[in-house]
Symmetry: C2
Subunit: 198 residues, 2 copies
DNA sequence: GATAGATAGAACTGATCGGTACGAACTCAG
DNA sequence: CTGAGTTCGTACCGATCAGTTCTATCTATC
């Protein structure tokens, strides 16, 4: 329950509290799978409050997706940072983290992928696209550190494996992260010329 | 307009006509993005007819997805068959076909992927899973013909590239098919031992 | 040409949806 | 203590939805 009755001490706290509480509900049920009334009831907030902060259900959805994108991005970036300097270790860390996510019983695919597939709204498409931009940047940086001849292309190939693994894990094979990891490592240059360490 | 007024000569014709007419509408607007009333109006069929043949909107959706899965599967299988015996040519044909699809202005992602992401219904999940089963079989066969040491694993890796390319093409980069093709060819054994041609 | 089955089209139902309005309860500043 | 602002809870509104029913009309068959 993110909010109390009466005047709010910290409006920003209220806002983020609503977002955090709404995130799992929209993820589990789907963006159109839960109505504003039930959403607010489970949030412990009133419709009036939600509409004051976000203007519409669409506004709440976009705020939730933005927050989710940032969290996921920093989660992956953190795994890379914790893996040391070897790009092979970094890539291994990424796919191991993903596989741990797929193993979670609550895993229902990537919220960003699901939203883009079900929600035909330009703003949501932009959020998803920016999300993939950030992910591509991270993977391209690893490709560059690995000394790839064409880091941009390798980065895009790695992006296909990450997104493909998440989708296949959701709909077909929970072990997709392991296969993606093998493929990703196989795509890296076999001998690290390490000309692109910076 | 799949149906005329009056008694029908061929009920199966009516059924497939409804499915074919409904397919692009559900694809463009999303499964929940168009109501049964508008759907029937655009189909030129009455609600009574649709409900007689399919029982519910859900039944129509499942019939549309089944038909779509079969069409797409035979489309890809046809491209492989037309590419000759070299597994590298076959894989190239698959990704070239996919890229041609992504280049279509009407491309809005894979209907199967979209349905699975937006529709939290067990039956739809099963249709999608079987669809990916068939696709995995096809890719594993190519991997085997290519002489892969572990055709099952390579097949699954190729599946990640196919599905990842379709998703990324829909939401981020229309050229995903070209990058996927390069990655797929790089994953194939460099020297075709061709022990698995049969 | 009479009959039976299938159809289009439109009216209708009950439920649910997003969004608004309002009163009562609450907090904080003065 | 008072008043302004915030919140909850509920009631409400108009629109839309999936699904049903009815009638008039069409076609194939006998």
């Amino acid at each position: 329950m993110p909010v109390r009755k009466g005047s709010t001490i910290d409006p920003e706290r209220t806002r983020t509290g609503i977002i955090e509480a709404a995130t799992p509900l929209l993820y589990e049920r789907g963006l159109d799978g839960i109505g504003v009334a039930e959403l607010c009831a489970r949030l412990g907030a009133s419709k009036e409050t939600v509409y004051r902060y976000f203007g519409s259900k669409e506004g709440l959805i976009q705020a939730v997706l933005e927050a989710r994108s940032k969290r996921v991005t920093s989660w992956i970036a953190g795994a890379v940072a914790a893996a040391g300097d070897d790009p092979r270790d970094q890539l291994t860390a990424v796919f191991d983290e993903l596989q741990r996510w797929y193993d979670d019983p609550g895993f229902r695919g990537c919220a960003m992928q699901n939203a883009a597939a079900q929600h035909h709204v330009e703003a949501v498409r932009e959020i998803t696209s920016r999300h993939l931009d950030r992910r591509l940047d991270l993977l391209t940086a690893i490709a560059r550190r690995a000394g790839a001849a064409d880091p941009d292309t390798l980065g895009r190939q790695l992006l296909l494996l990450v997104e493909g693994a998440t989708l296949v894990a959701a709909h077909h094979d929970r072990n997709a992260g392991k296969h993606a990891k093998q493929a990703a490592l196989a795509l890296l240059p076999t001998v690290s010329t390490s000309t692109g360490t910076v």
